[in-house]
């Protein structure tokens, strides 16, 4: 891939007027205050890289890598610059041109092979129960979890022993008259770390006239790879998924994971495949993709029967960056919560500020990630909520860790879990 010819690099770099508006919204810059972490600093560095004023060194990669890719800057930029895409493109360029930038096993192998990823999670979970931490470490899976190894292990003590895939069938028939055939894109995070979300989603969908198919042969959506500069790997993964998913005749493709839906979105498909042969197929796929909450509200228009027994419960909601910023979806998850009888939505301050998880960021930049998380937790705790909700497994993982870190005894759930509970209550 020719870095200089990528659309954001070609069309957007010159549009940056260095106004600094993005400085005022970036969660990393808010902590550090140094221009090397400012979004406008990243844009500048990408330009230096393009113009050959700096070499694709580890040092440049490190500076760019401080970004969470939370997209807050991009949605606030008056010049319409996708700062995060420029950053990702530059990381990829460095990755391709500098053999010493870490080509970890994790991204190139483990995360591209779902079966291996799942078995690692199982080994890890079993190993932990047996106290065999060193075995757990060998799976390499700790690397994708928050914190350095010690911290990661702490947070891993409740890794589910069964993945969603092992708990769900490939084909799940509608339990009332069938309205839609829905492809369920089961992301790695949900599958391995939040399987209950998938189970709840399938429960709710099948109750509402959807036949839910979870295609067997799907791979990671590729977003973690983009974030880590491995765009070619992301392209391969996406191309595979496009082939698999387009072979079915789905009415919709739904996912509970904000990162997956943003990876499958039109915008990201254009970023990965603009001008390539596969572009049309990619865009055709993205037309069908909807976030689960959007599907439940806009397509199914879910309404719940009032029950006398409905328990009153205070719930707060955290906006995942990949939903609120990348796809501007903020109302649907809230509307869904409001439609569940008994739920009182208590907004936290700055609900759409990143939680600092951002996939692998919490591992690669543990301290920064924790600073951002601590702010988020203060805002969440201030609401006095009993349940903290969000729509992304990476956020669920990070926020659960935050609750533990702050001794805050609440559940961290996807709204669909509350919905499913309500049906079952």
């Amino acid at each position: 891939m020719d870095f200089k010819k990528l659309p954001p690099v070609q069309e957007q770099l010159m549009k940056c007027v260095r106004c600094g508006k993005c400085r005022s919204v970036c969660p990393v810059f808010a902590e550090v205050g140094i221009e090397t972490t400012a979004p406008r600093g990243h844009v500048f560095m990408v330009q230096m890289l393009r113009d050959g004023k700096v070499e694709p060194t580890n040092e440049v990669y490190e500076r760019l890598g401080q970004c969470l890719l939370c997209e807050t800057c991009s949605i606030n930029c008056p010049s319409g610059i996708d700062v995060h895409e420029l950053n990702a493109a530059a990381r990829s360029y460095i990755y391709d041109n500098n053999p010493s930038v870490g080509k970890e096993l994790l991204f190139e192998t483990l995360w591209t092979k779902p079966a291996m990823l799942r078995s690692s999670a199982r080994v890890m979970s079993a190993a932990q129960k047996l106290g065999l931490q060193s075995l757990a470490r060998k799976t390499g899976l700790t690397k994708i979890l928050p914190g350095d190894l010690k911290e990661a292990e702490q947070m891993m003590d409740n890794i589910p022993s069964k993945s969603a895939r092992s708990r769900l069938s490939e084909i799940n028939l509608a339990r009332e008259e069938k309205k839609y055939t829905v492809g369920y894109f089961l992301g790695c995070g949900t599958d391995l770390f939040s399987p209950n979300v998938a189970v709840a989603a399938v429960d709710v969908l099948t109750r509402n006239g959807c036949e839910v198919i979870i295609p067997k042969d799907m791979k990671c959506c590729g977003l973690p790879h983009i974030a880590n500069g491995k765009i070619e790997t992301a392209q391969k993964l996406a191309a595979h998924n496009i082939k698999v998913l387009n072979a079915y005749d789905f009415d919709y493709i739904v996912t509970d994971c904000a990162s997956c839906s943003s990876a499958l979105s039109r915008k990201n498909m254009e970023f990965l495949f603009a001008g390539l042969k596969i572009e049309d197929a990619a865009l055709a796929l993205s037309e069908k993709v909807l976030d689960l909450t959007v599907f439940l509200i806009d397509v199914l228009d879910i309404r719940l029967p009032q029950k006398k027994t409905a328990e009153k419960i205070r719930v707060t909601y955290h906006d995942p960056c990949h939903l609120a910023n990348a796809q501007l979806i903020k109302d649907h998850p809230r509307e869904l919560l409001r439609r569940i009888p008994g739920i009182q939505l208590a907004e936290m301050k700055a609900p759409n500020t990143c939680c600092g998880g951002s996939g692998t960021y919490s591992t690669t930049h543990y301290e920064m990630s924790m600073k951002i998380l601590d702010k988020k937790m203060d805002n969440a705790m201030e609401t006095g909520a009993k349940i903290l909700t969000t729509c992304c497994p990476s956020c669920i993982m990070q926020l659960s860790y935050g609750c533990k870190r702050h001794n805050w005894d609440v559940q961290v759930l996807h709204p669909v879990e509350l919905l499913s509970r309500y049906y079952q209550s």
Binding site: E11, M14, K15, C16, V17, R18, C19, G20, K21, R23, S24, G33, I34, E35, T36, A38, G41, F44, M45, M48, K53, V54, E59, V60, R63, P78, S79, G80
Partner: protein, 466 residues
């Protein structure tokens, strides 16, 4: 002193957490929001992040003894290269020293360190029903120190003027390391005519006379009500005439903004749903104060503007106000997108002319743009004659850059010819110093004398202002 020794010494003075020394990191301090530094970024030899007057003083004393240039910097949102080490030296980034030291509600004043962000200060003050009225468009990102140095103002300058009248006193580290307090060492008063007014001299001096380390500023009670009027004109000349009529009717709005046909088109292309009426000019009036007075002033504006305007609409309901104002609030973004293969640039963007000549100036700007074959978007604070011109070019095409540089030069000359100034709010910095003699004549000699007496070693932000 060679740069590696310089870096070592600075680390020794402040500790390594407050100094940037790696060349790669220094590159990030080679730009501000000016077009100049986009074309020619100029990295410093070191960057320091002081967190106290002592830190500042240590670095300045060291720089003075070793004759090393020192350049204060806030958030780097200036449009003039003011915070750039154009002749090398140490950049002193004061934006991480951001403390609201005291809100003295009883005396209607607040004391801050230089790095406090304007919007954040006003958020705090709002808790006490107070506000610091100057309102630059960069409020969310610029520092109060940068506002003091540039005497920044914004669209409410019509009523509230610029930063200067609000500054009651300053602590300044002088270019030789002395620390002085202007406006009275212990003073907490508001009125004060004692001594030569060094506060006034420092405000707007763009960091060439010393480094502001503490700011005592006056706050106003926050107005309780607001209203917006939009007047649409078929004839450009009617717009400034109506501004005068409104003043004559005894009304002083907080802001009066103009969008000319180029801006109206840019906004409608960018966001068709805003549906600005197709016109020669649109005026937006903002009035603030107490509810009855706002209502009264709104009625007068409606009546007065109605005599010449095609339509006038008045709103006090928040949603409608936001809708009326939306055209203005997206102008900057809209001008950025006039050309898919281009970008607006910040150059020649801030001339100021007499109100009576705004219409002539807007026409002359369009003619100049046509002559040079450059697309522009015009808008501005017509209430005080401040015209913002946004040239839109592809900055990566050298011929376009060459053309725009000539255009911008003529824009500055036009301002002087119209009995105006090359800059109404953004300042001179490195980009407008060539016009100093033409604009100020012999007065520049006296400006130089002041500079030399404050900074005999010539180390404080050289290459700026004149």
């Amino acid at each position: 002193m060679d740069t590696s020794q310089l870096k070592q010494e600075l680390v020794q003075l402040l500790g390594k957490d407050k100094v940037l020394t790696q060349d790669l990191d220094l590159m990030y301090y080679s730009y501000d929001s000016s077009f100049l530094t986009k074309l020619e970024p100029a990295p410093p030899n070191a960057v320091v992040f002081p967190k106290s007057t002592q830190d500042v003083q240590k670095v300045v004393e060291f720089a003075y003894q070793n004759r090393i240039n020192i350049v204060p910097r806030g958030a780097g949102t200036g449009e003039t290269g003011g915070c750039i080490a154009v002749q090398g030296g140490i950049v002193m980034d004061l934006s991480t020293w951001n403390e609201i030291i005291e809100i003295d509600v009883k005396n209607m004043q607040v004391i801050v360190s230089p790095g406090v962000i304007h919007a954040e200060l006003n958020n705090e003050l709002a808790k006490y029903n107070l506000f610091f009225p100057p309102d630059p468009g960069s409020s969310m990102m610029c520092t109060v120190g940068g506002m003091v140095a540039n005497n920044a103002s914004g669209l409410r300058a019509v009523k509230y003027w610029a930063t200067e009248p609000y500054i009651l006193g300053l602590e300044v580290v002088m270019p030789n390391g002395d620390v002085i307090i202007t406006g009275g060492m212990k003073a907490r008063c508001i009125k004060n005519v004692s001594g030569i007014n060094l506060t006034k001299l420092m405000v707007g001096s763009e960091g060439i006379l010393g480094i502001v380390t503490r700011i005592r500023l006056r706050c106003f009670p926050k107005p309780k009500a607001r209203g917006i009027a939009m007047a649409v004109f078929d004839n450009l000349d009617d717009a400034p005439a109506v501004v005068m009529d409104v003043y004559q009717a005894g009304i002083l709005p907080s802001g009066i903004e103009i969008l000319d046909s180029s801006a109206i088109k840019a906004v409608n292309d960018f966001k068709p749903q805003i549906k600005l009426p197709d016109a020669e000019a649109i005026l937006l009036f903002e009035v603030d104060g107490n509810p009855p007075s706002v209502e009264y002033e709104g009625q007068v504006i409606q009546e007065v503007a109605g005599r010449k305007a095609r339509t006038v609409e008045w709103a006090t309901e928040p949603k409608r106000m936001a809708e009326l104002w939306e055209g203005r609030s997206v102008t900057a973004a809209a001008s950025a997108r006039v050309r898919p293969d281009g970008s607006r640039i910040f150059a020649g963007e801030d001339i100021s002319v007499p109100i009576s000549r705004v219409a002539d100036t807007l026409r002359a700007l369009r003619d100049l743009a046509d002559q040079h074959g450059i697309q522009i978007v015009n808008y501005g604070h017509i209430g005080d004659g401040n015209v913002h011109t946004a040239p839109v070019i592809n900055p990566e095409i050298p011929q376009e850059v060459e053309k725009v540089i000539k255009f911008v030069d003529e824009v500055h000359l036009l301002a002087i010819e119209m009995n105006g100034s090359t800059t109404g709010e953004h300042g001179v910095g490195a980009v407008r110093r060539a016009y100093a003699e033409l604009e100020h004549g012999k007065a520049v000699e006296y400006m130089r004398k002041i500079k030399e007496s404050f900074d005999p070693a010539g180390i404080m932000n050289p290459g700026k202002v004149f």
